[in-house]
């Protein structure tokens, strides 16, 4: 473990404002994509069953 404390971990040597949004947006996009495809499938398969 190279981080002295949780605060140090979040600070990322002063670059926290760049590092965390990068990972955050990445996680958001990938998670969002999964959700979008999930919903698309529900919509497509759902209306198929109606016919």
């Amino acid at each position: 473990m190279q981080w002295g404390s949780l605060a140090e971990f979040f600070a990322m040597g002063g670059y926290g404002l760049y590092v965390w949004p990068s990972f955050g947006v990445t996680a958001l996009c990938m998670g969002g994509e999964v959700i979008a495809v999930w919903r698309r499938h529900a919509a497509a398969a759902g209306s198929r069953d109606e016919s």
Binding site: M12, Y18, T26, H41, S47, R48
Partner: protein, 253 residues
């Protein structure tokens, strides 16, 4: 026919591919989550702080995998497009259609994280270096393919037109890269290379590679899932080559 004989070609029909994809997705998703988890752990808790760039360099653990996937997926998409045109195979076109949005997303991520990395490292939110500029143009190409498809109502024409565009675009990718590097050297001094990273420690490389494979597995899972959506959506649309009666999606044996 013996029980061990598998007729792989039957999976080229959407009806058979659908359940197969459904069974494969959880595996790829699980592997993806595992790899990404391991990669993040190594990246944050094992890889040391960089001497020149401090902890800002850790952005490469998402930037490089995203950039690599964006280019890799474009080539794969173009291959499926070419197969579709060459074999006149509808499922190939559907695969190309399923890949495009994920590729575009990774291109955007590569640009965003690249910008985030550039600001603390080089002082500017955007640098016109060869790699980032090529990535930007790749995003334009992805968007063009997606928009072209959505502008054409006829499914067959949409498939084939976006396939042609994908193939033209894949030829353009190396030309773009070469010409942008040329342009960079032409205007020396005004540009810095964001990828002139210092020599990376072994653990850094490991984390990056693990993340890359994680993103790859993720892409497969999402593409398969989107492919299933495309299959179901097309079943409902009047499309060419569809049998007169619509059988239920069967479990392939």
């Amino acid at each position: 026919m013996s029980a061990t004989d598998i007729n792989w070609f039957k999976y080229s029909s959407p009806q058979a591919f659908y359940p197969l994809a459904g069974r494969m997705i959880p595996w790829f998703a699980a592997i993806a989550l595992g790899l990404i988890g391991v990669g993040l752990y190594i990246g944050f808790f094992v890889a040391p702080t960089d001497v020149t760039q401090g902890d800002a360099y850790r952005i490469i653990f998402v930037h490089v995998p995203a950039a690599w996937m964006s280019m890799f997926l474009y080539v794969i998409m173009a291959i499926w497009a070419g197969l579709g045109l060459g074999l006149n195979a509808r499922p190939s076109f559907m695969m190309a259609q399923a890949i495009a949005p994920t590729g575009a997303m990774f291109t955007f991520l590569a640009l965003f994280t690249g910008s985030m990395w550039g600001k603390p490292t080089w002082g500017a939110w955007w640098v016109w270096d060869a790699r980032l500029t090529s990535e930007l143009i790749l995003l334009f190409q992805y968007i063009g393919i997606i928009l072209l498809r959505s502008s054409i109502d006829d499914l067959r024409r949409a498939d084939r037109a976006s396939a042609v565009l994908a193939l033209v675009g894949v030829i353009n990718v190396p030309i773009i890269y070469f010409s942008v590097r040329w342009w960079n050297t032409l205007h020396q001094g005004a540009s810095v290379s964001i990828t002139a990273a210092p020599t990376m420690a072994g653990t850094m490389v490991t984390a990056m590679l693990v993340m890359m494979f994680g993103f790859w597995m993720y892409s497969i899972a999402v593409t398969l899932a989107r492919m299933r959506c495309v299959i179901v959506e097309r079943e409902r649309q009047p499309s060419w080559g569809k049998p007169a009666s619509m059988p239920d999606v069967v479990e392939a044996r």
